[in-house]
Amino acid sequence: MSSAQERLAAARDILAAWVNDFQEPEPERLDAGIAPADLMAAVRALQTAHWGYLAAITGLDLGAEAGQLEVLYHFCSGAAVMTLRVPIPRQESSVPSICEIIPSASVFERELAEMLGVTVIGTPNTDRLFLADDWPLDSYPLRKDAFVGSAEKEQGA
């Protein structure tokens, strides 16, 4: 197996068509900012080239001021970790589903959808995975402003 640096260089080549914002925050890691529209094409290219596997999908809430969420697709290959960073607006946020390319992404997407309120367009299963059935539909626990309202309510009471 080639070294992590070679793997990352290969990833750069594969993704060059869609990404011009590459960063290496740490050795053996590569971050690639990508637009939601290009996500599918980029993931397909990675998959065609057999570059690593999807390790996780992380949702980040950058806060109300920034008005943005970020969805991180972590791909691992040996020691190399390549992350596709997809910035999306906080309101009416959505990303396309990559399940048709990587079926195992289904659970990650379900988690993303219920925890951060990101609509994953075309994901095969939208049932609740972790949250209780009676959890309010418009409350997303991992958003930074989650539970703020209920805290005020209790203080007022």
């Binding site: 925050p25 691992c76 040996g78 020691a79 195992s104 659970v107 988690e111 972790f130 959890w135 539970f147």
Partner: protein
């Protein structure tokens, strides 16, 4: 049990869970059966959801360590380890080699205890209680070792940010060696049992087969992947802590059936014994801890470790304050869960507990976050739950 229309309709669904003798932790599986043959399977998780990811955001770096360690009662050490390695990387702290070696030592002891536990559970699911009882008796040996070493049977709290909490003295080293000698003998015996017992083999050989190709598509990790011939072991691929100094030989099997998973896990035990002995023989001298800043530099990091069940993935983001900005935990069970649903179809209902146990599922690991809601649907914050709890018990 409900008396709904599923019985008169075409689909006959056998629910396994949330409470069921086959499950040691809550999860819910629905198996649609045609006679004894399973034709469809689905899963619902979250019954052990405790809001830990969210909770870390309102705790400081040190508090979060103890919280994360409690994600799982079986593989508590690897959670703490993954978190510590990540935070130390963010803070730019160099951990002394002795501490790193002790971390690996505890991680391997934990793997031994976890694999023994699994062996028992899997045997029980197959209806082989004798093997179950014996493996759990022998597992006590490694539990005793862990207790002697750390003071706890589970949740050892071996890690602190910047090092480990206790030292491995020569006396403890002897205790561990003695324990390992006994366990090694037993492990040889168990390997013989699971590969030669004809009745048991009827239940494992050729059951729940996952080909290498399927394993790749399904994105399985850990021993489940290795039993299908896929080298997926973070200790080998991206050595962390002291694994670079104590290299691991990955254990592979080709068949991809339940028997292969038994063989892989049991053979991994020998590898663990070897590593532990090597560490005890060549434990580096030096400090156990370095100073850790209270605040961690802003930044993001990814930390991956090999839990007993497979790759454990941590994404940690710091905003330069006392508290983490975001801790994302992706546990191995989540990756492996999909494989259960796929391999289940076409098998008999009787094989379900075995196939389920085959990935060594850990629902607590999977679930993580809490939902406490009052009647009108408003949720409590962690702070409120704490106050509520204090007020509740003071009222008693």
């Amino acid at each position: 049990m409900s008396t709904d229309g599923n019985l008169s309709g075409k689909r006959f669904i056998v629910p396994i869970g949330p409470q069921h003798p086959a499950l040691k932790e809550p999860g819910h599986f629905s198996f649609t059966v045609d006679g004894e043959i399973v034709t469809d399977a689905s899963v619902r998780l979250g019954y052990a959801h405790r809001g830990i990811e969210k909770a870390t955001e309102s705790r400081n770096w040190t508090q979060s360590l103890y919280l994360l360690e409690r994600i799982c009662g079986i593989c508590s050490h690897v959670h703490a380890l993954a978190y510590c390695l990540g935070v130390e990387k963010l803070a730019g702290v160099e951990v002394p080699p002795r501490a790193q070696a002790i971390r690996v030592l505890v991680a391997e002891l934990e793997r031994i205890h976890s694999h023994f536990l699994w062996l028992g559970v899997a045997a029980h699911e197959a209806g082989f209680d004798t093997l179950f009882m014996y493996t759990w008796r022998d597992r006590e040996t490694v539990m005793d070792i862990l207790e002697a070493l750390t003071g706890n049977r589970v949740n050892y709290s071996a890690n602190v940010l910047g090092g480990v909490k206790f030292d491995v003295t020569p006396e403890i080293g002897d205790t561990i060696r003695r324990g390992l000698e006994f366990l090694e003998g037993r492990t040889h015996h168990y390997l013989e049992v699971v590969t030669t017992d004809q009745v048991f083999l009827q239940r494992t050989r050729g059951v729940g087969v996952m080909s290498l190709e399927q394993a790749e598509t399904l994105g399985v990790v850990g021993p489940t992947a290795r039993a299908s011939g896929m080298i997926r072991d973070i200790r080998v691929e991206a050595p962390y802590a002291a694994y670079a100094d104590y290299p691991v030989q990955p254990v592979l099997a080709e068949a991809g059936d339940l028997e292969a998973r038994f063989i892989v896990r049991i053979k991994e035990l020998f590898e663990s014994y070897r590593i532990i002995r090597q560490i005890l023989d060549t434990l580096p001298v030096g400090e156990l801890q370095t100073r850790m800043p209270r605040r961690v530099k802003a930044g993001e990091t990814v930390s991956r470790v090999e839990a007993p069940r497979g790759e454990l993935f941590y994404f940690i983001k710091s905003n330069g304050t006392d508290n983490p900005e975001r801790v994302k935990v992706r546990t191995p069970t989540l990756c492996n869960m999909a494989s259960v649903l796929v391999t289940a179809v076409g098998h008999q209902l009787a094989d379900m507990p075995m196939i389920l146990a085959g990935i060594d599922p850990c629902f607590s690991c999977n679930d993580r976050t809490v939902i406490v809601a009052d009647a009108d649907g408003a949720a409590y914050t962690w702070e409120q739950i704490r106050h509520h709890g204090i007020a509740f018990y003071q009222g008693k």
